[in-house]
Subunit: 131 residues, 4 copies
Amino acid sequence: MTSTIGDQDFSISLDPANGAPMYRQIIQQIEYAVLSGRAKTGDRLPTIRSLAVDLKINPNTIVRAYGELEIRGIVETRTGSGTYISGKMPDPEDGERERRIQEVLGRFQREMRDLGVAKSELVGLVSSMEE
Amino acid sequence: MTSTIGDQDFSISLDPANGAPMYRQIIQQIEYAVLSGRAKTGDRLPTIRSLAVDLKINPNTIVRAYGELEIRGIVETRTGSGTYISGKMPDPEDGERERRIQEVLGRFQREMRDLGVAKSELVGLVSSMEE
Amino acid sequence: MTSTIGDQDFSISLDPANGAPMYRQIIQQIEYAVLSGRAKTGDRLPTIRSLAVDLKINPNTIVRAYGELEIRGIVETRTGSGTYISGKMPDPEDGERERRIQEVLGRFQREMRDLGVAKSELVGLVSSMEE
Amino acid sequence: MTSTIGDQDFSISLDPANGAPMYRQIIQQIEYAVLSGRAKTGDRLPTIRSLAVDLKINPNTIVRAYGELEIRGIVETRTGSGTYISGKMPDPEDGERERRIQEVLGRFQREMRDLGVAKSELVGLVSSMEE
DNA sequence: GTGGTCTAGACCACT
DNA sequence: GTGGTCTAGACCACA
């Protein structure tokens, strides 16, 4: 159920079991692509219609996601042309990416602790993760 | 913003950055406590009102979480007395806990990948996590 | 006071004299509709708001009923679209329906006994029930 | 789980699956006993303590039930002596009993209809009820 | 328009 | 004081 789209740099996938709403998953993944350097200023995002088809969701959901990304200044829409990664990075400093990483790490740590997985076991688990 | 409550075994915390609704976060943490063995049959949960105060949220949200846990048979309510871990564990077999661990691991892996963190870096990150 | 809604297959009514809470009465009637075969997989339930208006109760009460039916796997919600009878019947075997019938019968018998209605009179009463 | 108490005329039983709160079930059964003529003016009810023990519930619940019955004028408490059926019947006319019977009958009819039991089958079901 | 989450606050049932 | 039900109303996510 993890439909994937775009060229290798812009693959977006939805996880229905994730709990997070689809539009937010899309936003997050594009933000992350920018923060990680995989998406660079001027790169063109998939069209709303194609992304909707590929992810099998309503185009309005993509509109929402792109719209919110534009409000945040992360993307730019040029009517009739498409949606592009903006010149303004979400947070020019790498601090933002660092912050996100720590956030994800913290959530991971907390959930594993709640599940009774000792810190010493975590390293083993992570290093044995399949691709 | 991660207010914490209860004795050391039943600490429940909300993460506002976590997209999941609050009532679901509460459910998850209690399920995890049971799966990990930290919460045992007969243990008393915090009262609805006290948890609401500690988490600074509306009591109805706790009511909802506890109610859903009861439907799932994880918890038992004795009106006028309190809410208790039920005799029926969610899945006595350890399979359920394993499944949840894999789920968390998968989500972690995916989010880190999206943030551009290489698998090789993950082990380092995890092993250097602060307590 | 028995407001009725929907098309002939999905009429739901509340009985204020019935001690059971409203949300439970709603759940029961939908369960029964499924068990009796009147409601079939894929059938659409009344919308939350329309049912609330028809029954003259707060929408949240319907939300709760539908939510619990979803947890039990009887119903499936597609946000933005509606609520539908799920593919998973509560108990495909007819055993469940039989069990419910016996339950209702037992309660009836007990209440009539308490009211001093002899068993011999019961048959007469039942056969003379108006439509 | 249907603990029973008292002499043959005042047997009270609780049905936990009934949904109705316990104190209401107690009230109902005493009312019905009066309406059906099984309980007559001056008859002594079980003591609060003995009934609580027999039904395995909290004495306060009995206190509530008896208290409400007193408010309605159905019973009378004589301090230090016990609780007795009052001289004032709830509704001297037999109309009240009739009304209750119709109420029970109506609920039965509705639930059976909801379960898809035809009226023609009902008579058979009722006449074949075990004691 | 359809469902989902949450708050504030009331009142009830029960220990 | 503990849990249960309900209302009124706000705001969000989605089609």
